[in-house]
């Protein structure tokens, strides 16, 4: 039994002390004398959020399978504890051993959202690790970043020794082997970092240099050492069915955000929504065999005692083995009081039957994400969803006994007009009317309840919208007002609730998402002036960030509202995610110049480049066009993309036009 390193006096005076004690069922304790690599895996946010992250659980399982490695967890202490630790100079520690992070060989930090960057600096600060990689010595852990934000790691590049670009299953073991061997040989930190940078998927940022044009855009970006690759290639798991997956998840004592068994059914997404980074950088879609998933479900429920299973993927409706899997799960676990939940269902193939099967519990609200209010706008973002689809989905929900519907939209999309914003209100009104048309009076319990939420669009690297200009901060609020005012004009406005939030966080996210190395000093300045937990409303200080940018000579508009040319070299262009820049540019043009949709990966191959990985949907038969796509292509309104490179794609095109 490992006693908490923090004294009772401290733990009893902070919020939720159980965040800091470790010792949970499923956590792995090894003898540190038996291992040669100690790996601290960090999610730079509070415990309840970090514990809900599937990626870390996979890495934890993968690394702890190695007998030479002990992987432990680290989360951000909440502000109350961070203050005490700083004041009393208590070094940040890992949960399992309660040993200081600074004694570890690796500090891996998952970067899930840009607004965690100051938390990363807090982790380094509390651990007693120098902020800048160049100031670290052999005594300091190798600080390595991973996760979605590594698809543009440049704003935080100086703080990291390495970035892992891709899926941990691919080269993590190679990296650990390399480290152990070089450590045994007594090689230097610099030697290891350079050698690591030669492994496919590993980026050693401080061995690269950027030069800039006078206007601030990038002129050139290259390695300082000829042995390092000019392009860093994203790596993916060789075979998802055989990849390590936690059979015995860690069960937190306190309620985590995801307090259930999470089963990953597939990676990647066929949809290609033009705003979505995950839809591009996790390509190609790779399904897991439902038998494998079922086997894991069995073990995980048994070992955790959870009473809920959640299927995880970017778009679970696209999982082709969903019917078999659901039948099994419901059949197997229903009598054991285990519920199955299905986030990420699409409206167009929304199946009342499925929802009724899995949700025989409370008919709470159903959430749909049309993302845009008009068909024109939905076509620009390639959502591939008609108003009819949306209303059909809502109608089925009403018939099935639901009376609460939540809609998610984005504001500030490329080419968006007043009409598109008002369209959000109109769609909500049509939904309300549909309720009264569908549900007879005697069955209306409490009336319909429609919640409309909007968020502001942030262009992300490696999306067709990476060229998009962001709108001016003051416009965001005006846009939200347009939606609100238009909702108020609707007949059933009392049934429609509208939620939006401040735009300040959006601007910051916009700067950091598409930023370059020049931002690093500003991020450090912001942290040193009190910014931390920027993704939390109560701890976000926008003015301090503006001061930071001013102090460091950063022009916010350069990163947000500036129009980017088609020829511009982006800070993240040195990463090869599989999907080509040529494809993204073509998609950008199809969106804003032609306003046409592109079929999804199962309908037709658009030759995005992800086929280079040699796996997944790229090698399935094509031609399964959705009703909507069939309709629009038949009407000749839009045409599938030209320049098909693969035979299967050409065949699909032939089918469509015939």
């Amino acid at each position: 039994m490992i006693e908490p390193v923090l004294d009772d006096r401290i733990l009893m005076n902070v919020e939720k002390p159980a965040r800091y004690i470790g010792n949970e069922q499923g956590s792995i304790v090894k003898d540190k004398k038996d291992v040669s690599i100690r790996f601290a895996m960090c999610f730079p946010d509070v415990y309840e959020i970090g514990m809900s992250h599937l990626g870390i659980q996979i890495i934890y399982e993968q690394l702890n399978r190695r007998s030479d490695t002990w992987c432990e967890r680290v989360y951000s202490p909440w502000t109350d504890l961070a203050e005490i630790m700083k004041k009393e100079q208590i070094p940040l520690y890992a949960l399992e051993s309660q040993d200081p992070v600074k004694e570890f060989d690796f500090l891996g930090i998952t970067l899930q959202y840009e607004l965690c960057y100051t938390n990363v600096l807090q982790i380094l600060d509390l651990s007693g690790i120098p902020f800048f990689a160049k100031d670290r010595t052999l005594d300091n852990p190798i600080v390595m970043g991973g996760g979605p934000c590594t698809y543009n790691p440049e704003p935080i590049a100086p703080f990291f020794d390495l970035f892992y670009i891709g899926e941990s299953e691919a080269v993590m073991d190679d990296l650990m082997d390399l480290y152990r061997n070089m450590k045994e040989e007594g090689k230097s930190r610099a030697d290891f970092i350079k050698a690591a940078g030669q492994i496919e998927g590993i980026y050693a940022p401080n061995l690269y240099e950027a030069s800039y044009h006078e206007d601030g855009t990038i002129a050139d970006f290259r390695p300082l050492d000829p042995d390092l690759p000019g392009k860093v290639k994203r790596v993916i798991a060789p075979d998802l069915n055989r990849a390590p997956y936690p059979r015995q998840p860690i069960v937190p004592y306190i309620r985590a955000v995801q307090d259930r068994v999470t089963l990953e059914v597939q990676r990647g997404c066929i949809r290609g929504c033009r705003f979505c980074q995950a839809g591009i950088v996790y390509r190609p879609l790779r399904e897991k065999d439902h038998k494998t998933v079922e086997e894991y479900a069995e073990d995980m429920i048994k070992s955790s005692g959870y009473d809920e299973i959640s299927l995880s993927s970017l778009s679970t409706s696209d999982y082709s083995q969903l019917p078999e899997l659901l039948d099994y799960l419901i059949d197997r676990f229903h009598q054991n009081h285990v519920n199955v939940s299905l986030p990420s269902l699409r409206i167009d193939n929304f199946s009342l039957d499925v929802m009724n099967k899995v949700q025989d519990i409370k008919k709470s609200s159903l959430t749909f994400a049309p993302e845009a209010g008009t068909q024109r706008m939905r076509d620009v973002i390639n959502k591939g969803l008609t108003e009819e689809d949306i209303l059909k989905g809502a109608g089925s929900a009403f018939e099935g006994g639901w009376n609460k519907v939540k809609y998610y939209f984005m504001l500030g999309l490329p080419t968006e007009t007043e009409e598109d914003r008002k369209g959000i209100a109109h769609l909500a009104q049509k939904t309300a009317e549909l309720y009264y048309d569908t549900v007879p009076k005697e069955k209306r319990s409490g009336g319909v309840d429609i919640t409309v939420s909007t968020s502001f669009f942030v262009p992300k690297p490696f999306t067709p919208f990476q060229w998009a200009e962001m709108v001016h901060p003051k416009d965001y609020i005006a846009y939200a007002r347009t939606v609100r005012n238009e909702i108020r004009l609707q007949k059933n406005q009392k049934r429609i609730h509208y939620k939006w939030h401040e735009a300040d966080g959006t601007v910051l996210e916009g700067v950091l998402a598409r930023g370059d190395r020049k931002l690093a000093p500003a991020i450090l300045w912001a942290y040193q002036h009190g910014c931390v937990f920027d993704s939390w409303v109560e701890t976000f200080h926008y003015q301090t960030w503006l001061d930071a940018f001013a102090a460091c000579g950063i022009d916010v508009d350069f990163y947000t509202t500036r129009k980017r040319g088609k020829e511009e070299i982006f800070p993240w262009d040195f990463i090869d995610v599989g999907v080509t820049k040529k494809f993204l540019l073509k998609e950008w043009e199809r969106a804003v110049e032609e306003g046409v949709i592109t079929p999804n990966c199962r309908e037709a191959c658009s030759a995005c480049g992800a086929r280079c990985f040699g796996q997944g949907v790229c090698f399935e038969d094509k031609g399964k066009l959705s009703d909507y796509a069939k309709l629009v292509f038949k009407e000749g309104r839009q045409i599938p993309p030209k320049e098909q490179e693969h035979e299967t794609a050409v065949q699909a095109e032939g089918e469509v036009t015939s």
Partner: protein, 274 residues
């Protein structure tokens, strides 16, 4: 069948609050392979109740949870049979129960460190047998950190006896509604100074840092819904009497047993499962 599980909660898990610990216990039952009885309806939950909630930071060697398990209860009669019906179970068709020892083993195989089920007994289904309603008192071993109540052993022992021998032990009690003087003497059944008590032989206490002097105070006091006295209030009053500072975390509270009317431990009210 209602099974009364006696359990320990020691070590880091002491920082897990009562509600979170109940959720932990529910999952442990699910993991154990023992078949629990769940409520019917939209969100089924295990039928589980705890005898006396423990405060965050406190440890126990003798707490109780009553769990409804789907095994045949041969001793159930009359009213008790009907209680099973409401969960859609017919006692005649349920499997025979494992022994108490087997139940302990099943639970302990899936517990986090620091939580151990030390006995399982069968209890009746009537309202009067509800664990929470039965609790009258509890005994506590209060481990004194080095530097807390810094008197030499003999003096501290004498001081405790002097304090307790007073006719009244008035404390100032502050609640949300009122502030008043209360006499805790009737609630405090026993108090004594202990040196090298048996608890120091048991893990995790034997290894805990900051207790080199191996000193503790043993108390037994009213606990439960009718009358309740918090050990912390006793320590505070004692420190005040001794004119010594009362640091809130200068000691560790360990509950050692929970008693019903007549000084019987709650487990003694159940029948053995063998």
């Amino acid at each position: 069948m209602k099974v009364r599980m006696k359990f320990t909660k020691t070590g880091p898990i002491r920082f897990v609050g009562h509600l979170d610990f109940m959720r932990y216990f529910t999952k442990a039952v699910a993991r154990s392979g023992l078949t629990g009885v769940y409520t019917k309806g939209f969100s089924p939950h295990l039928i589980l109740s705890f005898a006396a909630p423990l405060g965050v930071g406190e440890e126990t060697l003798g707490d109780y949870a009553d769990v409804e398990l789907a095994y045949r209860d041969v001793l159930a009669e009359g009213d008790e049979r009907r209680r099973l019906d409401q969960y859609g179970l017919d006692d005649d068709f349920l499997p025979a129960p494992p022994t108490g020892e087997e139940m302990c083993r099943a639970m302990n195989a899936v517990m986090a460190e620091g939580v151990r089920v030390t006995s399982c007994t069968r209890v009746g289904q009537t309202k009067a047998s509800k664990a929470m309603a039965l609790v009258r008192s509890a005994s506590y071993e209060i481990l004194l950190k080095d530097g807390f109540l810094p008197l030499e052993d003999g003096k501290l022992d004498q001081g405790i006896q002097d304090w307790y021998s007073q006719a009244e032990l008035m404390i100032h009690k502050k609640t949300r509604k009122s502030e008043r003087e209360v006499d805790i003497k009737p609630l405090l059944k026993e108090i004594s100074f202990q040196k090298n008590a048996q608890i120091w032989q048991i893990e995790p206490f034997s290894k805990r840092k900051g207790y080199a002097l191996r000193r503790s105070i043993l108390i037994r006091c009213a606990t439960g819904s009718t009358e309740n006295l918090k050990p912390a209030a006793v320590l505070e009053a004692l420190a005040a009497y001794l004119k010594l500072p009362s640091e809130p975390y200068g000691y560790q509270i360990v509950r050692t047993e929970t008693y019903a009317e007549g000084g019987l431990a709650l487990s003694e009210l159940g029948s053995d499962l063998s």
